[in-house]
Symmetry: C2
Subunit: 339 residues, 2 copies
């Protein structure tokens, strides 16, 4: 099913058929109608290879996320996909970003595939320079990540530095002083950034930062929050509150505390980050910081399409606010301070 066949049936040249499809205003209304009718009837779709060979465009966007196990990335993927597909693009999602080799595989795959743009979501697994190989590919990139230093790609991100501050201040205003942290994957940029913000906030309020009150886990696994919490429960004195760097970790931690016969929030308050739906369905409900993932994903997709349309468009940095969601996992500390 060629463009040639269509041309023959319509009694016009292939150029005219091509134009009827791609630049309808350039062809006579009557001719156009006839051609498009034949196209529709015959089910013809232009060969994407031949087309791509000429235009260099694939109508394909790559999305790189660390994992789909974390619902926030599921939401990101879904948000981006629905926006993009509405605008005629498809989305190739790369997940399970677990190792540097895997990352290299992904980069190679994207390169050989020729996508029109890339969305890089929270992929700062590799401390420094992880994004360079992608930049080399030389297509527009939008990062859903806080990358203030970088001037070559647009970013859209939640202000998680303020988010961390909000979370800790919430605990501090509830009179907690023995605050522990469950950080996420040590290598990731997001972990480093939140950790810095946490220390800064705690110092500001003159809160002692015990070394044993800092443990870490893996963002993608609730189980990992559980084992991290086990370590914290072995510390004396126990913390009265815990800030977990994401909700998966927080949920794991809550289960651990309850399994050991302690109560949340009575004995220990817990606050998370992300606001995944599950947080509203455990008991007690998880107090957390909301990230508007769906919104972010759509905005990122929109920005990317703008950049593709006008490559000269300057790099933009968009900051979105977080929001504190108070549920039942945090409460006022009534214990005597034995600081």
């Amino acid at each position: 099913m060629d463009i040639r066949e269509i041309a023959k049936k319509a009694g016009v040249s292939i150029s005219t058929v091509s134009r009827a499809i791609n630049q309808p205003h350039l062809v006579n209304k009557k001719t156009r109608g006839k051609i498009l009718a034949i196209v529709k009837e015959s089910g013809y779709v232009p060969n994407p290879f031949a087309r791509g060979l000429l235009t260099g465009k694939t109508s394909t966007i790559a999305l790189v996320v660390p994992t789909l196990k974390n619902p926030i990335f599921g939401e990101t993927a879904e948000g981006a996909e629905s926006y993009l597909s509405f605008h005629g693009y498809s989305l190739i999602t790369y997940s399970s970003l677990a190792s540097m080799e895997r990352y290299q595989t992904i980069v190679d795959n994207i390169r050989s595939r020729k996508v029109d743009g890339i969305i890089l979501a929270g992929s700062g697994i590799f401390q420094r320079g992880y994004q360079e190989p992608l930049e080399d590919i030389n297509v527009p990139i939008v990062a859903i990540e806080y990358l203030p230093g970088n001037t070559t790609m647009s970013c859209i991100y939640v202000d998680d530095i303020t988010g961390v501050k909000m979370a800790l201040e919430h605990l501090i205003f509830l009179n907690h002083r023995r605050i522990a942290l469950i950080a996420g994957n040590p290598g990731m940029i997001v972990t480093k950034r939140r950790l810095e913000a946490a220390y800064k906030t705690l110092e500001f309020y003159n809160i002692d930062i015990k070394e044993e009150y800092l443990v870490s886990g893996l963002y993608a696994h609730m189980e990992s929050g559980y084992t991290a919490m086990e370590k914290l429960l072995a510390v004396d004195p126990l913390p009265t509150a815990v800030f977990a760097f994401n909700d998966m970790l927080a949920i794991g931690a809550i289960k651990c505390i309850k399994d050991k016969g302690l109560s949340v929030p009575h004995d220990i308050s817990i606050i998370g980050f992300d606001n995944i739906p599950t947080g509203g369905y455990i008991s007690p409900g998880l107090t957390t910081i909301n990230q508007p993932c769906l919104d972010i994903a759509e905005k990122a997709a929109k920005m990317l399409l703008e950049q593709i349309a006008k490559p000269a468009t300057s790099v933009r940095k968009i900051l979105l606010p977080c929001e504190l969601i108070i549920r039942g996992s945090t409460s006022e500390n009534r214990k005597k301070q034995v600081s």
Copy 2:
């Protein structure tokens, strides 16, 4: 960066370069080494359009899932993606399959894109004939769905009919007789199938099927399980056990029961289906039926690649067993039967 440039640098013809890349055994070892060295050094990657134009292959697979909000499909996507990417394919994921228009958009997109194969995961949104438009595309399809009648596509699926039976028998053996059902989206094939299996099992055990004991919700939203449960709590007499058609619904239902001041499992037992990780982190832990999603996704991907390699390969139907996971949300019914 052409194949021509490589050829010139290596002092050979483009045919030889092409062969060095695609059929290395056909070119002299020394020449091949030289060519590949130049290829690597220059970062050349064959133009996928030109290649596709000749071969008709895209090295791309489409995955259609109802939503990524349900973790089982996140796992499915991740499992398929990692397997496929290891074998040189990329995965285009279509989610948020909410309406028939959206479905048509997806089908059109897949058609115009020319993928090498399709994985259709639990997409039986549209009662009958929903898969025909995809079959028309005329590429291998593997369905992760129970499609016994269909002889044109391979299927891999969990034996959820037995799963439903196991779930209900678990409740029945715990002495429950007033059993309610929270079914999923009314239009979906999977709902219909599970419903049939449920009725069959209940009839077999001579259990009265009250009409008010059947409510439905939307698989993708826990909230929906909550409101469904509200309806059940308005029925007199109350059911002593509820079988929700998936874990999201079950988790919503549990929250509802607890919010109303009743206890799970003391007042009402709940059992779900899927075994999403969250089920192990709520309290009480969710009793459910396990589906090995990751395994299924990988097997589906594998089957698909086999079919692509050998199109003559006959259609296969693979059935995988479910497993009952007993946690705390179900217990023996001690209430007097007022049947």
